[in-house]
Every structure is written in structure tokens, then in C-alpha cells.
């Protein structure tokens, strides 16, 4: 259950349908950046990325490094900065297939997988061009009120979910606190891989109060101990993000060469380009 981060990254094969949570949050970013680094370093290719429900820097690095074939997203944004530059460039050049969605559809699609049903209805959204562009969604007459149309969206069942959390125990139970949408992601995915700041000896599922915010190891396939594993994004209050490097990345990644330089100098120093 407890493995190294190298072993953990090796469990994500080329072409995997890989899900990651939004990497900007009031509690902790959730971004498994150390895994991202290993995926880039080992030249992972053809990933189909699902971001729940949006993402910024983490997805942009994977796209910039050529690991990603397709992305499904509610939006892509680096907060306070703008559209992630490698994403925008890859979309423009046609190298990246973008399945634009909307945030609640991603939550609902994962919710359908969580319930083991092939689709789920969702309120609203009708009239948006996202509906006419997504041929895998269906507008039907509401079976309970034929006068009304309703949007049905298919279940989203990623091969693998990966995220970084503050805390796990040796049994693989992972404390996620109030970021309960990460539990949704783990419920919907076939496999869940987690890096954590800290591993404790107590059984988190039987520790008062901690147990309330803990994802059971029923859903967790491997945990790696990886302090600082979200850098330059944050891993909660005790591991604040590096805003300066986020901004430096945003500026550098406007060009391919700037991206390559930032990756070598800041993200993977010592690794030959």
C-alpha cells in the first residue's frame, strides 16, 4: 500500500484516462506535482486528462511536456494570471484535443460513476453551445414531464485518479478534510493513487474527528510519502505555494523555449533537457 513516488508514477501508463482535482483551493491544492515531475521525466505519452472540474498549472505542465493527448475540462485557468499558456498554444496548434465541458457536468458525470449508473440528468445548461458541441450528451424529453427537455450526461469513470493530500495512515486511509469532492473522484475512478505530506501510525478511520474527513482505503490503491509534493502549488497551510514560481512559469510558458527553460531551471533542475 505504501510505495515510493517513482513506483506510484510508474502505475500510470501511456494512454491512461487520468483524473486530477482542481489545483487551487482554500484548503489545499491537491496537486500531485511530484508525480507530474515523474511523468514528464519518464516521457509519459497519450494521457487523456480529466480535470475536476478545472485546472491550471499542473495540467499545463503535462500538456507542455507532450504527455497529454486529450483534456476534458470545465475551464482552464491559473488564478490571478490567466489561461494556462501551454494549454492555449496546444489547442491553437491542434496538437491537443479539448473536450470542453462545464464544471457541474464533470461533477455529475463522476457522480453517475459513483452510483454505477450509465448516465445522470442535470439541471440547466440547455441553450449553451456546450450542449450542441458535446455529441456524447443527450437532450431528451423528461420522462416524468413530457413538456420539458432535460440534459443527460454520461458517467465519467477515469482509469486512475491521482492527488496530493496532507495526511494518510499506514493502512492507506487518506485524510482529505473538507475537500470531499476528492472522495467523489476516488469513488468514480477505477484506481486511486495518492501522495501525502505526512504518514501517521494511528488508524485514521478510527480516530475521532479525523475519521470524519478521511477517505477509506477501500478506494485507495497506493500511497507515497512525498513531503512538499505539491510544490510550487500549496499543500495546505503548512506547505504554502510558491506564488513567485507560479508567476514565473506563467510568463516563461508563453513560448515553448521559455517553458523548456523553466522546466529545466525550476521544476526539474539537474535533469538534462
Amino acid at each position: 500500500m505504501i510505495i515510493t513516488v517513482e513506483e506510484l508514477a510508474a502505475r500510470i501508463p501511456d494512454g491512461a484516462h487520468l483524473a486530477i482535482p482542481v489545483d487551487f483551493n482554500a484548503f489545499f491544492s491537491g496537486a500531485a506535482m511530484e508525480v507530474t515531475r515523474h511523468l514528464v521525466r519518464s516521457g509519459r505519452r497519450g494521457l487523456r486528462l480529466l480535470v475536476m472540474p478545472s485546472n491550471g498549472m499542473q495540467a499545463d505542465i503535462l500538456i507542455g511536456a507532450g504527455c497529454v493527448r486529450e483534456i476534458e475540462c470545465g475551464a482552464m485557468l491559473m488564478p490571478e494570471l490567466g489561461t494556462p499558456p501551454r494549454f492555449a498554444e496546444a489547442m491553437r496548434s491542434g496538437r491537443l484535443s479539448v473536450r470542453d465541458s462545464t464544471c457541474p457536468v464533470i461533477f455529475h458525470g463522476l457522480g453517475a460513476a459513483e452510483k454505477g449508473v450509465p448516465f445522470i440528468p442535470i439541471a440547466g445548461v440547455l441553450g449553451s453551445d456546450v450542449v450542441s458541441r458535446r455529441l456524447d450528451w443527450k437532450v431528451v424529453a423528461n420522462p416524468f414531464d413530457a413538456a420539458q427537455d432535460i440534459l443527460l450526461v454520461p458517467a465519467i469513470r477515469p482509469d486512475i485518479a491521482v492527488f496530493h493530500a496532507p495526511l494518510a495512515d499506514r493502512h492507506g486511509n487518506v485524510w482529505i478534510g473538507r475537500r470531499r469532492e476528492i472522495a467523489l473522484l476516488a469513488h468514480a475512478a477505477q484506481q486511486t493513487l495518492v501522495t501525502v505530506e505526512r504518514i501517521v501510525d494511528e488508524d485514521l478511520m478510527n480516530t475521532p474527528l479525523y475519521e470524519d474527513g478521511t477517505l477509506s482505503n477501500l478506494y485507495v490503491h497506493a500511497v507515497a510519502h512525498c513531503p512538499g509534493g505539491s510544490w510550487p502549488l500549496d499543500a495546505g497551510k503548512d506547505a504554502p505555494g510558491d506564488k513567485q514560481q507560479q508567476r514565473a512559469y506563467f510568463e516563461a510558458a508563453r513560448t515553448a523555449s521559455g517553458f523548456a527553460r523553466w522546466m529545466q531551471d525550476a521544476f526539474m533542475p539537474g535533469v538534462p533537457a
Binding site: 482554500a26 484548503f27 462545464t102 440547455l126 449553451s128 470531499r180 469532492e181
Partner: protein
């Protein structure tokens, strides 16, 4: 849900309108949110938050939930709870912008050009197609009021202003607050009606800078009332204090404004 204008626009040119009193838009937003019980603010929505918090300071409501702020976050169930609470009717006020806005109230957060071959890509839809349909009173806020934002027809409909006869909607646009004026949305006409213009703008300025048709009663539009003395005082103190943990820059701007 990010509420800030798409960055693509920043990269093009900065909007150069008449410099506005910093208190005018929060006061106008607060008025547009009148009657709301619970307003949610997308992340990066300092101006929106100021408006909602001013309404709260004045009237004791709405409750204000600022996404991305730990302190004012009422949700404990992750990101999806925002969307579920909205569909339950527990959020009756929201604020949205848009890189393009048209006269039917359609919003474009996706980009400029012929999707998917966009000339400029903005962040994307976020939750707009959904929240615009289910939140009773959505106030649109876009400081740049120019023909490239206020367009005859958006290039891509992220969120539709109105629904058809087979579309159940419990929400939609209520008003559009810009750097030049305030429109209210007229649900019967399915379009905007000019409510007031900010100091320095006349009706013909609005017509020139607006790419879509809008309704106007008479030939002269009333002036947008300036923020009152109590409103200015609240914005400088209680509202700025509440904003400070999440939006320190904007809080200081309010505190230091004349």
C-alpha cells in the same frame, strides 16, 4: 467558478473608459442584488464580493459565500456542493461577467472566433451554463463597455440568456452593470433595457459603445446614483475588513479611496 474577465482581453488592450469613482460599481451591484437571500461569489471576484457585502452591510442580507475564501465558505462538501445548493434554490444571487455579452443576455467565456478554431482562447465555461439557468437573480458585471465586449451576437454561447418553451429555468439575468451604465434585463422582451448611465456618459455614448440593441424609455437616461455617504463609509470599513483576507489589494483600494 471564476468571475474575473477572461485574460485574453487583458492581453489585447486595457479598457480606457471614464475613470470611475471606486465606490460606484459596488453600490450599483449592491442595488442590483436587492432582495437576495444568499449570494455566492466566484473566486477572484473582489468587485462582486464588495457589492454583495455592501448589500449585506446595508440590509442585513444577503448571506454572502465567497468561494476560495476559507472564512466565508459555508460549504463543507467540496466543489460540487455549490452547484447542488444552487439547484436546490439555496443560492438566489450570483454574479457573472463574460468576454462577450450580447443583447439576448448570452455570455461567452470560451473565446473569440469560430469555435473550436478560436483566435483567442479564454479559460472556458466554468459553471456558467448551469448557474445562469438555476440562480434566480444573476447580475452581470463587466467594467469594459465597448463594442468588442457588448456584441450583437456572441461567438460562442457559454451560458444562454433565455430558454425556450421546453426549457425549465429557475434563473437568469437580472441586470448588467458596466463601466458606463446599468441595464436591467427585461424578461418579457428578452433583452436589456437601459436603467441609468454613470456620470460622463450620455445615451448616445452608450449606443455607440454597445454592439447590441437595447430598450430605453425616452431620449435621456437617468444618472446612476453615486454611492451615498453611508455606503462609502461601509465600503471603507466593514466591507474592506471582510474582503481583506481574500482580496487584500481591493480592500486597500477601498480604504484609501477619496
Amino acid at each position: 467558478m471564476s468571475a474575473r474577465p477572461p485574460e485574453g482581453d487583458r492581453a489585447e488592450t486595457e479598457f480606457e473608459g471614464t475613470p470611475l469613482d471606486v465606490f460606484l460599481l459596488p453600490a450599483a451591484i449592491a442595488r442590483a442584488l436587492a432582495g437576495c437571500e444568499h449570494v455566492a461569489i466566484g473566486s477572484d471576484g473582489a468587485l462582486h464580493a464588495a457589492g454583495a457585502l455592501l448589500a449585506q452591510a446595508l440590509h442585513g442580507k444577503p448571506r454572502v459565500t465567497i468561494l476560495g475564501s476559507r472564512q466565508q465558505l459555508f460549504f463543507s462538501d467540496g466543489g460540487r456542493e455549490l452547484f447542488e445548493a444552487a439547484a436546490q434554490g439555496r443560492i438566489d444571487g450570483f454574479l457573472l461577467g463574460g468576454g462577450q455579452i450580447d443583447g439576448q443576455g448570452n455570455l461567452n467565456f470560451m473565446g473569440r472566433g469560430d469555435y473550436p478554431a478560436l483566435s483567442v482562447r479564454w479559460p472556458g465555461n466554468f459553471g456558467s451554463p448551469y448557474l445562469y439557468s438555476v440562480v434566480r437573480r444573476v447580475v452581470l458585471v463587466r467594467e469594459e463597455h465597448s463594442p468588442r465586449v457588448m456584441v450583437p451576437r456572441v461567438d460562442y454561447i457559454s451560458a444562454a440568456g433565455t430558454g425556450g418553451p421546453r426549457t425549465r429555468r429557475t434563473g437568469g439575468p437580472a441586470a448588467l452593470v458596466t463601466g458606463r451604465c446599468v441595464f436591467r434585463f427585461d424578461a418579457e422582451r428578452q433583452g436589456f433595457a437601459l436603467q441609468s448611465v454613470h456620470g460622463g456618459n450620455a445615451l448616445h455614448d452608450i449606443r455607440r459603445e454597445t454592439g447590441f440593441d437595447f430598450h430605453c424609455d425616452g431620449d435621456v437616461a437617468p444618472q446612476t446614483p453615486p454611492a451615498t455617504q453611508p455606503e462609502r463609509e461601509l465600503l471603507r470599513t466593514r466591507v474592506a475588513d471582510a474582503l481583506a483576507p481574500t482580496y487584500p489589494g481591493f480592500a486597500n483600494k477601498l480604504r484609501e479611496a477619496p
